[in-house]
């Protein structure tokens, strides 16, 4: 398989990852244990769910807590996955918010925590460090998901738990 095919073939993992983040965040009060310590992940403001395959039918839920909306639950139940989300990530009293697209896992509209440095040059470095810290946190979360996803036994258990969760969420008739 050449590189382009590999990239396209594994693109669905991004959407599965974002959907898994929702599942785990919902069941563990937002808290994830990653190698560098605990981190909180919450879904904010806007959540886009999209059908798999060629139809690309979308539901966009705009709400303070979009993952609590019945419409979002109904979309999950209909087989849609998270195509884009606005995440709030909290670590050691620092908070970032960022839009993440499932297909690319690229970050946009990132709001970093307030800068502590005063000097212009120091502020610039701090800005970049905070962006890198967010990327590292995000990569650790993705690595945790990939670890589960590629371990057949662990994933068999996880996917059952996800399915139970999807079917227990309150959804519109």
């Amino acid at each position: 398989m050449d590189l382009i095919n590999r990239i396209n073939f594994t693109r669905f993992l991004g959407r599965e990852f974002l959907t898994w983040l929702w599942f785990r965040s919902d069941g563990h009060e937002g808290i994830f244990d990653i190698p560098t310590g605990a981190v909180e992940v919450w879904f904010d403001a806007k959540l886009t769910l999209e059908a798999q395959g060629d139809l690309k039918e979308q539901n966009v839920v705009k709400a303070e807590n979009p993952t609590e909306a019945d419409e979002a639950h109904a979309s999950l139940l209909a087989g849609k996955l998270v195509a884009e989300a606005r995440l709030r990530i909290i670590r050691d009293q620092k908070q970032w918010t960022a839009n993440v697209k499932g297909d690319t896992l690229a970050l946009s509209g990132v709001k970093i925590p307030a800068l502590l440095s005063r000097d212009d040059e120091e502020q610039l470095y701090e800005r970049f460090y905070l962006m890198e810290e967010l990327e590292d946190l995000f990569n650790d979360l993705y690595e945790q998901f990939i670890g589960l996803r590629l371990d057949d036994d662990a994933w068999r258990e996880e996917i059952q738990a996800i399915r139970s969760w999807v079917h227990q969420l309150p959804a519109e008739a």
Binding site: M1, R6, I7, F9, T10, R11, F12, L13, G14, E16, F17, T19, Q52, L76, L77, A78, G79, L81, D103, T104, L105, A106, L107, S108, G109, V110, K111, I112, E121, L124, Y125, R127, F128, M131, E132, E135, N139, Y142, E143, I146, R149, L150, W155, I159, Q160, I162, R163, S164, V166, H167
Partner: protein
């Protein structure tokens, strides 16, 4: 390339496309990269060459500055430059009106009633050349922040076309490859063993909404 506000490296919210930079830096890269940036610096659109766009490197924060010096480009382990892209776009409706007028004048001059396709094309091209001289190019800049020690870089846009052009421009300038970060390349950089990595390439999408057993 799409419109809208260009978000930069220096302030505001951050919108990036992230890259892994593959390959080793050459010895004395500080000097050789300054030369390479100068070589591929932004140059104004050359109307004499029928150009309607141009793209090249400028310093971050000043789209008119192409005098690359270490203290403008290197900040600790960060190399910061910007891509400047200029484009002359004739307003479509106005151009259509001018073209209709030019065609009419041509027919009168020639005493013809109809115009052939090649004739119309020629008039169109001549008119484009004339009118391009009267249009101010649109200027867009996109910041690049490359953490050399981390082997990673951000281009501050998610515009697909700009990113495609960037990958080529980056390799041409620095002799290194920039690989976009995505669900695949992230796993590639996790250092998984071969068996697990192969497993990823055979894994099928899961049905998360299937009835639980």
């Amino acid at each position: 390339m799409d419109g809208g506000k260009t978000l930069g490296a220096l302030s505001g919210t951050l919108t990036t496309t992230a890259y892994y930079i593959e390959g080793e830096l050459p010895d004395g890269f500080r000097d050789s990269y300054l030369e390479a940036l100068a070589k591929f610096r932004f140059k104004e659109i050359d109307l004499a060459l029928d150009q309607d766009e141009s793209m090249g490197w400028v310093t971050v924060g000043d789209p008119f500055d192409t005098a690359f010096e270490l203290n403008k480009v290197l900040w600790g382990s960060y190399l910061m430059v910007a891509i400047r892209h200029d484009a002359i776009r004739l307003p479509a409706n106005a151009f259509k009106l001018h073209l209709a007028k030019a065609v009419q004048e041509y027919l009168q001059e020639q005493g013809k009633e109809r115009i052939s396709k090649p004739e119309q094309e020629e008039i169109k091209e001549t008119l484009q050349k004339q009118l391009r001289k009267r249009v101010l190019p649109a200027i867009k800049t996109f910041d690049l922040v490359w953490n050399i020690d981390r082997h990673q870089a951000w281009l501050f846009t998610q515009n697909k076309k700009v990113n495609e052009l960037f990958v080529d421009m980056f390799e041409e300038t620095f002799g290194l490859q920039a690989h976009e970060r995505n669900p695949y390349s992230l796993v590639e950089h996790m250092g998984l063993d071969d068996a697990l990595f192969d497993r990823m390439l055979s894994v099928e999408p899961a049905s998360m909404a299937a009835p639980p057993r």
